[in-house]
Symmetry: D2
Subunit: 253 residues, 4 copies
Amino acid sequence: MKDIQNLPDERNVYLNEVGIREFRYPVSIKSKDGSWFSTPAVMSLRVDLPGTQKGTHMSRFVEVLQDHAKLDLHNVRAIVEAIRERLNAENSYFTMEFDYFIEKQSPVTGHSSLLDVHVGVDAKIVDGDFSFCTSVNTPVMTLCPCSKEISDYSAHNQRASIIITLETNQFIWIEDIAKIAEEASSSPVYSLLKRPDEKYVTEYAYDHPKFVEDVCRDVKLRLDALPNVRHFAVEVMSHESIHNHQAYAKVVV
Amino acid sequence: MKDIQNLPDERNVYLNEVGIREFRYPVSIKSKDGSWFSTPAVMSLRVDLPGTQKGTHMSRFVEVLQDHAKLDLHNVRAIVEAIRERLNAENSYFTMEFDYFIEKQSPVTGHSSLLDVHVGVDAKIVDGDFSFCTSVNTPVMTLCPCSKEISDYSAHNQRASIIITLETNQFIWIEDIAKIAEEASSSPVYSLLKRPDEKYVTEYAYDHPKFVEDVCRDVKLRLDALPNVRHFAVEVMSHESIHNHQAYAKVVV
Amino acid sequence: MKDIQNLPDERNVYLNEVGIREFRYPVSIKSKDGSWFSTPAVMSLRVDLPGTQKGTHMSRFVEVLQDHAKLDLHNVRAIVEAIRERLNAENSYFTMEFDYFIEKQSPVTGHSSLLDVHVGVDAKIVDGDFSFCTSVNTPVMTLCPCSKEISDYSAHNQRASIIITLETNQFIWIEDIAKIAEEASSSPVYSLLKRPDEKYVTEYAYDHPKFVEDVCRDVKLRLDALPNVRHFAVEVMSHESIHNHQAYAKVVV
Amino acid sequence: MKDIQNLPDERNVYLNEVGIREFRYPVSIKSKDGSWFSTPAVMSLRVDLPGTQKGTHMSRFVEVLQDHAKLDLHNVRAIVEAIRERLNAENSYFTMEFDYFIEKQSPVTGHSSLLDVHVGVDAKIVDGDFSFCTSVNTPVMTLCPCSKEISDYSAHNQRASIIITLETNQFIWIEDIAKIAEEASSSPVYSLLKRPDEKYVTEYAYDHPKFVEDVCRDVKLRLDALPNVRHFAVEVMSHESIHNHQAYAKVVV
């Protein structure tokens, strides 16, 4: 049976990336406490393609995944290398996204519940160099310092998202990245709060008013203090309770 | 050229709806002030299909639309009837969704800006009866009465969505439905607020604490007072600032 | 600490549903082969609220979930009853959605891979009656009979979605619902196909041309033949390769 | 009333971007034929913020927009400059997305209909340099060369998306970018096709089989031939009819 993909290509146009996208596949992620968390992830696997080859072999990407479904994020490099080898490519790319859950205690009554964060992984080998970014989108609360200052009482507050994207020389747990986000916010959010907890969170947020600019800066200073961080970006999106749009701040290092 | 769709079908299975979906098309909507607002809408047009006919003629739905792009919502009936006639059907269905904008003044400084609401139209002729529902999703603010009561100061508040779906004997403007939603909330939201406005909105919301249950009930009572309403549903979704999920309330009449 | 929710409400407006929505929580689903599949689900839990009570107790919904994270779909009734009891309500509602994976062999070479389907569960107790619907959205392929008939060669084909929603007296596995969808399509789809498989699927689809109307009817006839089905709906959406919209068919029984 | 945003900030952290996001606003876009097309757009406006200033003035972004609602894409520079001036910033950023419609004739019967494409605009002034990218996402059809070659008859085909992102020294119409995408595909798609058109499109696609790699390369060669193009990227996503995932190719110049 003819292998059309392997035919020579006369256009001689190098393609930076070819592969599969929006591929859903269940993976197991190792948690900070040592247990394994199982979840479907949405993935993309790609390689570069020489100008002289007509097409890549799409089914091989799926085969690589089937060999690596148990994913220790300490070892994403293995899957990126396997893609490169299996596809005979120079460069290889692997991205995935999934929901992840972190157990937290409510601040006063100590009730335990799970907070969902959204995680992205972006790993690649380009020109022989491996790099690996983790991004964690953590929901928090912001309370507006301007509204607090100018109002005789109360202040508008809202849910906000903090996206921290990190490239490091050393592994950092999702749990630790989310904690940095929470500590820089007006208050963490929780799935389960009893009334004494709700009182605490309400007052705590009022005592820690923050613009998106403040949150962004405070996350940045915490990340600056980490060892082994090569690059990072921080984005804060506040779903303003007094508007129907978002306030936004971003810093890139 | 053979017309496969017109062939007889031996399975004799009546189909409730056949047609097109996720069809994007620009329409002009008449505003309360008499002007026309132009926007793409996402549409679906369907008819029922007798058990004895193999298929419907999909291209005719598009042709009906092309004859009705200037849509006075007073006259959605014309398009539903045109679908039924053009497709030789008993029952016909027309739904569309679009973003719509309402001009508002900020509460203190009077700055004008546009609030975006999301509108759905659901019209049909079934067994000879025409019916027509309009639904308007209005963004507002809710402030938690429990949080206010139990906290020494402040209260958590957040953006919320109120979806009012109405079937009436007489036309109601989108603008008037949105106003009912806003009046039942802790506070309206605005695209443009200067500092004196922000102070006003912050304090006003604190003075009007509402659970989703309260908002739902207050919208219901306002709708009860309208003449010519046959059925309605009210849904309130509050994007809780202290959680990563929504609080929800619904009433159906 | 005052319990505002428990206060009497003078408006006396009964609310059909109050509770939480867009709540993400990891669950374990029992598969047909006896193993357990772990995945985050997006959930909503609600109860009705008497007209005389100001508000529901939102945190209790989360507590009910925490007691029922290991979900055998044979026993969704337990969670709906627990919601009703914990919230002291007449009616209770539980819905959730999640991605699910079914292992399949490619048709010629027998390579194994996972197909992702999207599952919805909708259970409730209303006026003392428990009811439970499962809906499975299965991706398949449709090939247009008209295009095949009128063209000298080839036919347009595309990915389509079949949503089967079933209310039954007896449990039906997700795997069995997806199989009914696949058998009524022009061809199943697969995550992993080698070239002999791709040849087979291409020719098989051409040999089984189907309008959305045909798929809808063929699913309906298969469901009619099942014992213990009380109600069902079938929706077919074909992502037409020659258009930028969908062809649609629906039957309700 | 105190201006908290204008306070000095001791952390001295420069922020790359601060502003508003997910802001919906109606705009008028000038079409190639000289007419104006009205549509809501989803926008983001940002500036950079010196390390010494606590916050930006969010309401001013909305005021700039209100002065520029009639948008000739020839003159996006005016809005980016207005943002920079109004906010007293060094760098300013403006992005927006909207659906746009292009009138086309069906290939045989000449029936006219509208094709919807999705457009992105990304403009900025950074360090005094203005740059402006337009991206157009055009729906097309791809037919698999491998499936055609190995099968005795037919070939799998599907809807695909081609995203062309262009930075040019000279204005290029949306209509012309979409045409480049369509010419590089297996076939354009249409909103309205009568049977002779459907036969033509079916056979035309079979006569022009293309992998995502082929489409990507053919778009690239067409863009290479344009004068005044500074940078571009081409992404092709094929919604494979035999899989539940996408095939993908990308080239960056």
